[in-house]
């Protein structure tokens, strides 16, 4: 009862007190106007609040923010580069500046076989270099041992894919050259054997030289020509002189060059006949001299082209082998002054290229991540702002 009385009195008192003041007549209008103005300026207000909050959040001490960002980016790049170097498979092919893919191996025996286009640029299908080394499964039959693999690689490389025997394919004219380095126990006997290999395969030696290098160890280079079909046999015999250190076989397809030469010769020969006929009908001395002059030029051109054709045909018919025979410790690339700096340069170049590539990858990868992070940041910020808004 007392409570009810008190409550009633409190209500009356509060009501009376509250009605001591009049609600301003324009309060509602002012409120609505203020709300409308607030909504119009809300964007500007939000930007101001954002700027203020950023100012408040800015670190009072320490380094500028861009330094932190730069340090973070640099750390990411460094980590990527180190990770790439640590995890990279050493046997992974490295692209060289010429665009070839050069296979590297720690194996002591390195063998390469290549076939390239001629200068006039025949079909690109037949012009690709083909490198082969022991274990290159793309060029050998499954299950073959090392000698068989070598043989398979060479045999396959001899025949460009587009000109392998097949319906409508004309046998290509390929100039073959080979480089081979063989380490032998006894230089003198091996050198004699190497010189006899050319004759054994119906070829001939065009150049040879020998020298004594460190500790009177023998080393000789030999250039021989053998009929193209017998190239592999000659190489095999050379390999059998000792231990193969390096072999590289190249094939240059000159088919288009020969076809072009033949066509130009045929055309010039036809022209020569016409000039001769014209000469026979001409009686005036001045014209005779002029026509003879022209006939001489055509004949000279025909001879030149035929000489070129002959050289090409000779190169096609006879392969060239550049052989190096050496005793242990006298290998051509054993010069101690040559290796360290070259290796250091190669390593430095490789690391530099890897870092540049890694940087490109990191920057490229950061773009979508940055966009995602920005979106998340905006979302989190919006949620926080709602939560932190004054309790309403």
């Amino acid at each position: 009862m007392v409570n009810d009385s008190i409550e009633s009195e409190i209500r009356q008192a509060l009501d009376a007190k509250a009605h001591e003041v009049e609600v301003p007549a324009d309060l509602a209008a002012r409120t609505l106007q203020a709300a409308a103005e607030r909504s119009r300026s809300s964007l500007r207000e939000r930007l101001r609040v954002l700027r203020d909050s950023q100012r408040m959040r800015a670190p009072a001490t320490g380094y500028p923010r861009w330094m932190y960002s730069g340090a973070a980016l640099g750390t990411a790049i460094l980590l990527f580069a180190v990770g790439t170097l640590v995890t990279r498979d050493p046997s992974t092919p490295i692209a060289t500046s010429s665009g070839e893919i050069e296979a590297q191996s720690d194996a002591p025996i390195q063998e390469e076989t290549a076939l390239s286009d001629d200068a006039s640029g025949r079909s690109s299908q037949s012009g690709k270099d083909v490198d082969a080394e022991p274990g290159d499964s793309s060029l050998v039959a499954p299950g073959g041992d090392l000698p068989n693999q070598r043989q398979s690689a060479e045999e396959v490389a001899q025949v460009p894919p587009a000109t392998r025997p097949g319906p409508g394919n004309i046998p290509p004219k390929v100039v073959r050259t080979a480089e081979i380095e063989v380490e032998v126990r006894s230089f003198d006997s091996a050198w004699n054997g190497a010189n006899s290999i050319a004759g054994k395969h119906d070829g001939f030696v065009t150049n040879s030289s020998t020298e004594q290098v460190r500790d009177e160890r023998g080393r000789g280079t030999l250039t021989m020509r053998v009929p193209a079909p017998k190239l592999q046999g000659a190489l095999r015999d050379l390999r059998e002189l000792g231990t193969l250190a390096h072999q590289r076989t190249r094939g240059e397809d000159v088919s288009s060059t020969l076809v072009d030469l033949a066509a130009r010769i045929k055309s010039l020969e036809a022209e020569e006949l016409q000039v001769i006929e014209l000469l026979n009908r001409t009686t005036r001395i001045s014209e005779v001299l002029e026509i003879r002059n022209r006939l001489d030029n055509v004949r000279q051109e025909i001879e030149s082209l035929k000489a070129q054709e002959k050289v090409y045909k000779d190169q096609v018919d006879y392969a060239t082998i550049n052989a190096t025979i050496f005793e242990q410790g006298a290998a051509p690339d054993d010069d101690p002054n040559d290796g360290i700096l070259a290796d250091a340069w190669d390593t430095a170049l490789e690391i530099g290229l890897t870092i540049v590539a890694g940087t490109v990858v990191v920057l490229g990868g950061l773009i979508p991540l940055a966009a995602l992070g920005l979106a998340i940041w905006f979302a989190v910020r919006a949620i926080r702002r709602r939560r932190n808004a004054p309790a309403e």
Binding site: E9, L14, H19, T31, A36, E392
Partner: protein
């Protein structure tokens, strides 16, 4: 003006007509200052309007508006307390000087004014705004039991106020 803003503005007009006088008076009771009450009455509805643009306030608009109003007023009370404390360090605060009045209603009103803020606001919420105890618990951010105890303490203090007792003695 986008659709959400237009809808919020429509709601704001309705809320201002229905609730702003009560909010203004409640703010006046809490702050005992007409100008401050006007500010609170405006700020309350602008806050409500901004919130309504972002999300639907739901059906319990009345309690929600009162909650905003009381919180806004309490913020102002706290701000004034800080100001008074700062001034008080320089110039001692004048004591409470109730109006001379023999009117019982005025005496009760003055007795309410003498209550601590936490009790005074509870009284205003309960007996002027007619908020339920659960609504008060939300507004004041305390447990319902605390609301009950505050109201009980407020009533006990008011019932035992010497001025009230004296007036009751002379009038009764």
């Amino acid at each position: 003006m986008d659709e959400a803003t237009e809808r919020a503005m429509t709601m704001l007009e309705r809320w201002v007509r229905a609730y702003q006088p009560v909010v203004f008076r409640a703010a006046y009771l809490i702050l005992r200052d007409t100008q401050a009450a006007e500010d609170v009455a405006q700020e309350t509805f602008i806050r409500a309007y901004n919130a309504a643009r972002r999300a639907d306030p739901g059906d319990e608009v009345r309690a929600w508006l009162y909650r905003i109003a009381v919180n806004t007023a309490l913020n102002e009370v706290r701000r004034r307390k800080r100001e008074r404390a700062a001034i008080g360090r320089v110039r001692p605060e004048d004591g409470f000087d109730p109006m001379e009045s023999s009117d019982r209603t005025s005496i009760v009103s003055e007795a309410i004014d003498k209550l601590p803020d936490r009790l005074r606001v509870a009284v205003i919420c309960r007996y002027f705004l007619d908020l339920s105890e659960s609504e008060m618990a939300q507004v004041l951010k305390v447990r319902p039991g605390t609301v009950k105890s505050r109201l009980h303490e407020a009533r006990r203090l008011l019932a035992g106020d010497d001025a009230l007792v004296g007036v009751a003695g002379t009038t009764g």
